[in-house]
């Protein structure tokens, strides 16, 4: 099997820029855990694919060009791409282009060697053409890694879509989400609380973490340095001003805003509290249902509004799979331990 990686995931000796001029020419000094694991599993590395700058390019505008990773799979350059889908672009585009995007439970796949964007939500996922290929890659890259402090202790995972037990599915109240009931698939409408504030919570917490994570790009230790900078402050200011694209700059500035004295309590702290309420509510809902089904696309290019669809796995660390279904595509979301039930449901829908 051939795999590629977004160039926010490191392969020793390869240029790895996370799509940023700030990392132009940066040669990875070591390999990501997921790269090592794919190679150990006998998969063939077919190269890195340019990514959006820290996965956030176009976050604040209406553009939605097809991602290079999606194109690579569509053009048969590989069977799977390892990606970090931070704000949902790849889940949306996979589902609308006949592909599949699998986002694992947070902590099951090592982030060692992944250039960080939103550390509490970053997770290497698999973009693929077939569910079976995706599950083979996911099984290969999952498992404990002592080099990632958020890695769960389980040594290995085996994923498949062969579940035969009954699956209960909580459906979003949306015309695109239709799942046929069968002997072993039971559906009911699910009340999806807090959806109205998920974009706010996602953007506030996401920007704060991006802002923090991008402070390491200072023009000193590695990466881009502006020419003729005079003094240390000038090195910082000019290197970061010239090195970052507009969206990365804005994410940093939004992060500084929500972490500033005036906004910390009403925006940042409150978002963390709401994240707790969201997790408690959906942990409970996912006791009642094995899987929650949401559309993978709301239509239109308003990414801020769309982000409500993709926020739940990010904010709660759940697994999700996005796949083609009806016009908008569908996403399934589940808690740790229910992944194979979710994948079986995905197979059912795909066939």
């Amino acid at each position: 099997m051939k795999f590629m990686m977004q160039d926010c995931i490191m392969a020793a000796g390869e240029i790895c820029t996370a799509g940023s001029k700030m990392l132009r020419g940066f040669r990875a000094p070591f390999s990501a855990a997921v790269f090592e694991r794919c190679e150990s599993a006998g998969m063939e590395f077919a190269g890195l694919i340019p990514s959006d700058e820290f996965g956030i390019d176009g976050l604040f505008d209406q553009s939605d060009a097809v991602d290079a990773s999606v194109t690579a799979v569509l053009e048969d350059k590989c069977d799977a791409v390892l990606c970090n889908d931070v704000f949902g672009k790849l889940r949306r585009q996979a589902a609308s282009n006949g592909l599949i995007y699998i986002r694992p439970v947070y902590g099951t796949v090592s982030r060692f060697g992944l250039i960080p964007a939103v550390s509490s939500m970053d997770q290497v996922g698999v973009l693929c053409r077939s569910l079976e290929d995706g599950l083979a890659v996911l099984s290969a890259i999952s498992g404990h890694d002592s080099r990632d402090g958020t890695s769960l202790p389980q040594e290995a995972y085996s994923y498949n879509a062969d579940n035969t037990r009954a699956v209960t599915v909580g459906l979003a109240d949306h015309p695109a989400v239709t799942i046929n009931q069968t002997d072993h698939i039971k559906t009911a409408n699910a009340e999806l609380k807090y959806f109205g504030v998920m974009p706010q919570v996602l953007y506030i917490l996401g920007a704060a973490e991006i802002s923090n994570n991008t402070t390491r790009y200072d023009g000193v230790k590695f990466g881009f340095r502006a020419e003729d900078a005079r003094g240390l402050e000038d090195v910082y200011l000019r290197s970061r001003s010239e090195g970052f694209g507009q969206d990365a700059k804005l994410a940093s500035v939004v992060g500084c805003m929500v972490l500033s004295k005036e906004h910390y309590e009403p925006l940042y702290h409150k978002s963390m509290q709401i994240r707790r309420l969201i997790k408690e509510y959906y942990d409970g809902l996912l006791e009642k249902f094995d899987v929650i089904a949401l559309p993978a696309n709301l239509g239109g290019n308003d990414k801020y509004a769309q982000s409500a669809l993709y926020a739940l796995p990010l904010l709660c660390g759940y697994a999700s799979v996005a796949l083609p279904h009806n016009d908008s595509g569908v996403q399934f979301i589940c808690k740790r331990g229910n992944e194979n039930a979710m994948f079986s449901l995905a197979r059912e829908v795909l066939t």
Partner: protein, 93 residues
């Protein structure tokens, strides 16, 4: 959102927007700031902030030195190095 407020945030972030993108940044920031007010009505009384989605607390390893990467390999990534250290332009005249 005023130009002065944006400048204050730029100073915190140690970066500047160029003149072409400044108006866009200000408008987007204003729009987000206004939209973020939707959080106000959410009752969060008694809710502890959620920092990590994992139940695990501190993760410790054995107190054993492990050589991960050579100093020289990291310094090769530096824009400028001198005698085993990162070098920056002169900071004090």
């Amino acid at each position: 959102m005023t130009d002065a407020t944006l400048s204050a945030y730029e100073a915190m972030a140690k970066l500047r927007f160029d003149n072409d993108s400044r108006a866009w940044a200000m408008n987007t920031l204003s729009r987000l700031e206004e939209n973020f007010q939707a959080l106000s009505p959410v009752d969060t009384t008694g809710a502890e902030p959620l920092v990590s989605v994992l139940d695990t607390q501190n993760v410790f390893r054995e107190d054993k030195a492990v050589k991960f990467i050579e100093r020289e390999e990291l310094l090769e990534l530096a824009f400028e190095e001198y005698d085993g250290y990162f070098q920056v332009p002169k900071t004090i005249d």
